[in-house]
Amino acid sequence: MRKVYMDYGAGMPLDSRVFEAMKPYFFEDYGNPSSSHSYGNVARTAVEASREKVAQLVAAEKPQEIIFTSGGTESNNLAIKGVAYRNREKGNHIITTAIEHISVINICKFLQKQGFEVTYVPVDKQGVVDIEKLKEAVNDKTILISVMYANGEIGTIQPISEIGKLAQENKVIFHVDAVAAAGKVPINVKEENIDLLSISSNDMYGPKGVGALYIKKGTKIQPIIQGGGQENGLRSGTENIPGIVGMGKAVELAQKEMESEGKRLAGLRDKLIKGVLDKIDDSFLNGHPTERLPNNANLRFSYIEGESLILGLDMNGIQVSSGSACTSKTLEPSHVLLAIGLAHEEAHGSLVFTMGKQNSDEDVNYVLEMLPDVVKRLRALSPLTPKELLR
């Protein structure tokens, strides 16, 4: 049976070139960057080289504006809590959106319990932030605006430059969760007026357990981890050297290959979307038709449920994700799908295809060959399917 993995958003393989770059730092160059001897120097040099690469990826002015963390979730925690705690005397109001990654949503909920006020700005049907509502939400207590660059589930890319301008005009710190977007679309923190930007390594074929936060020089932020004062005092704890080296290599490759790989993936994405909408009745695209990540297709099928779609596809060698409640730990459908205005029963029938390096045109053909049958079989089982669709 053909194997077609289209769940890159959930997990992806390490690039073998990244692995090669990491290898020496496990057994030979195992020094601690804080040591003054030669082993320490080797480690320190490696960390700084990676810092330089990450700075280049997001067009930061100085490498020192990059802080390494344990991943996207920690970067989001450091950014949002760090700004909130440090700027409390200025104000207690934070603005974010209804479709942020669950880490941002839960950090905001945590801060609400500590007396911060949070406005969750709505999005339109295609998942684009309502700029007018965002503008209206800003008040003299607002200390932070946090908006994701692109949504990993529905793929929609936000008008970041516009929001950056708005934040700057109002002298509010602007944080962007770019975990789903970094390495896939070009990011320029200076031009887009971004003060803080979260990225993670494992969304770019790098190792899991390492990420970074861009902190624009002069941005007031408080550390959330206390210890030996590594990473300019903002992220204590001995550095994950192999991980940081791996992230550096992954970032370098992502930047080099972004344009060609992005074009290739967007072609596969558009073929998949068009093919599914043509072949399957009562199927719909979730998210924005054009302003979307090159590797993301989120499709919805009426009358059936996502987890059974995943299982049916898995039996045919195809791996994808779903926003259905039945696949979540909380038994609630995806907050993103509800925020774009889908009813619960519509959200249940959604599938997320996230493609990557190993996917080919033949893979898309295979999905287009197998998916209609899986949908048809489940619809034949469903009491919700209209009779005329079963003929």
């Binding site: 009358y303 987890e307 459908p333």
Partner: protein, 125 residues
Amino acid sequence: MYSEKVMDHFMKPRNVGEIPDADGVGTVGNPVCGDLMTMYIKVKDNKLVDIKFKTFGCGAAIATSSMTTELAMGKTIEEAMKITRADVAKNLGGLPPIKMHCSNLAADALHEAIKDYQKKKESKK
């Protein structure tokens, strides 16, 4: 995550469909929650001679529906009323804990169908 038995019933569900002249029909669940199932029964001499189902839901919802029809087929009304959610799960080789309550509704749908049959019989008297 699921046992082989669950996957078998998910891939090859038994007794799928509707019975147009059913003696009893029972529906439980709600599409908003992600699970909805309807059971149709045919009764002869106090025994379930035919059972069919239609289910909207996850893998567990479909497998438990299929297993319930298998467990109840040929049983008397009284025996079928004694089939529990736990029996269905046990015969499937177990279910993930999170699925025990939300998706294991098929026994309830069967009981609703039997109650519907009994009510109809009562009103005919």
